[in-house]
Symmetry: C2
């Protein structure tokens, strides 16, 4: 990890902000201190042991780095000491934003979903935020019931440790739909970012043409799910109705965005009469309201081309550094951020874009 | 149209090949000469008047150009004389490939679907191919029943006028799925291109998160449907099982493809053990087997950037000219093909890529 430290000791370089670190609920029993007696009994006596989402098969190379399994047992990402050593200290992280993917959206019982979401958030506060001041967290919510999600956001949204609401990018309905507006109202009320994250288990297929046969299809195809959601958010007028709303796309890839901007801008010119509340070019909404994390990067093999993509985005403020720890996307730090970017741009990607977006003081 | 003619009279420029011209069935009665008595009676006595697909609302600016409505009545694209005047003669078209979108996939009665598809193809032969030697056509097939589709391909696939099998890009299952392989077998047997075309009415939503609220979402979002299908075709090993198969993406847009290549190549390196039949980089399959028509173009406003996209594609053989007549995407011919491309590349896009792909003699 020597080359990491040397990156952080460059003159004038302040800390890195890592916008996607996974803290993993080790087992449903870890939530018991924060669950009402009814649900503790239900989980103890039934076969239901909490939701299961597994977009990262244990054997796949895209899954956890091999050294992230805690020596004390438990899944990768469940051990704070290891996270400190492997991310926060190793990278010189000033702030790390936790993305806790707990698949609440897959729970059909609405009250179990709400109780589990609250328990996860109380656990996040006790197990991660209180002992580690460099961490910030994402509120887990029952997104399939926006009124209950808004209630959870109101319960903890003013806690300084929570900076984001976690929404799985796969959802049964498009996120621009009016049914989700209570979530955005609540996020704006508490000045929280909406974080659309890779994956989700809504019960509906991840492609417009049904279920794929192989994991690589779902994995590579997740970029299309993000694209559908970005179109929906803009076209439904979410950013017009909630001008203060900020949306982070987490593990979305980034190189598909210029093409989407071009297409959507062009079609908006022809079809804007249908959606008169969309008053500006879609690409302007994207630049004003949306940011993207960079791992896993879908960049061309030639690093010079990433700079081309940034130019095509029309802004150097859209990309935010992330490790996606403990998921395994790169072996060396050189791979984490493509080399050859101008120093000012690198600084923005490594920290300043996220600092401004998440309103993190330095 | 003066500027069109001047383009075609450049020294050394042979004819243009237009890879997407819409011939429209004027009414179900036009198919009666080619339908069995049973279906003529059924259609006459019931409310069923053939399938309806309307991805082009009459009032939308993306719909037919205003002067394409035949003076004799009938929908734009249903009049050969007008098509000759407005496309074939106006552009100096050497070959024009017809895309007849008849939404056969929306017909739930499998025998009605098969009968209507056969009738459309016999009508295409009589009304378009026989009177106009510059035209080539796409076989309309009941794609939801691949065995019946293969039967129709076998019936007419050796007719020199048919060069392609038309499949709507929206489908109830991903096109890589084994259930569709009989269609590819038949296409290869008759040396036909598979043409995946914008739209379709499979009854399932056009996004991974359900139905959008507005037409612009479906229109702009169709690029994601194409992306899902390209991933599926490659990952399911369709091109390994049918090495001679060629697939045209029609009205797909083109600028999303480099990002998809990068992402898929990268994930294939990590996950190829799951799909061992995929033996080469996904981008190599794309370059070897897939071509794209250029209208409606999703290009950046700056024409120089289109050249950047062609470079990112890693091949100058992937793009094929199209007007998408009678749909309305440009007012002047300068807009039809972005200016500033090198002459050799322009020549490939305007004719030579399609000539090789569709095996059209000059």
């Amino acid at each position: 990890m020597a080359e990491v430290r040397s990156m952080n000791t460059q003159p004038g370089v302040r800390g890195i902000i890592d916008c996607d670190i996974h803290n993993v609920v080790p087992s449903v029993e870890a939530l018991f201190p924060y669950l009402p007696e009814h649900w503790r009994e239900y989980i103890t006596r039934s076969d239901f042991k909490g939701p299961i989402e597994n977009p990262y098969p244990a054997g796949a190379p895209t899954s956890a780095r091999p050294d992230a399994a805690p020596p004390t047992g438990g899944p990768p990402g469940s051990d704070l000491a290891l996270m400190r050593a492997q991310v926060l200290d190793a990278w010189g992280v000033e702030y790390g934003i936790l993305s806790c993917a707990y698949a609440i959206e897959s729970v059909h019982n609405p009250y179990a979903a709400a109780a589990l979401a609250s328990a996860v958030n109380d656990w996040q506060n006790a197990a991660w935020l209180e002992p580690e001041p460099r961490l910030r967290a994402s509120l887990v919510v029952p997104s399939q019931h926006p009124d209950l999600a808004a209630r959870e956001i109101d319960r903890l949204g003013d806690h300084a440790g929570f900076v984001q609401v976690f929404l799985p990018v796969r959802s049964a309905a498009l996120y621009g739909n009016r049914r989700y507006h209570p979530i955005y109202e609540a996020a704006v009320r508490h000045d929280l970012v909406i974080g659309l994250h890779f994956g989700g288990a809504p019960g509906t297929p991840p492609t417009p043409s049904g279920w794929p046969s192989y994991y690589i299809e779902e994995y590579a195809g997740m970029a299309q799910v993000f694209q559908s959601q970005v179109i929906s958010l803009i076209v439904e007028g979410v950013f017009d109705q909630f001008p203060a709303l900020r949306v982070a796309l987490i593990e979305s890839g980034v190189t598909w965005l210029p093409s989407l901007m071009w297409r959507l801008d062009k079609e908006w010119k022809g079809l804007r009469r249908e959606v008169p509340w969309v008053r500006r070019l879609p690409s302007e909404y994207i630049r004003d309201h949306i940011r993207l994390t960079i791992q896993p990067i879908d960049a061309p093999p030639d690093p010079a081309r990433l700079l081309q993509i940034v130019e095509q985005l029309g802004s150097d403020e859209l990309l935010m550094f992330s490790t996606d720890y403990p998921h395994w996307h790169f072996d060396t730090t050189e791979e984490a951020l493509p080399i050859g970017l101008p120093a000012a741009l690198e600084r923005k990607i490594m920290a300043e874009n996220a600092r401004a977006f998440y309103r993190l003081v330095s």
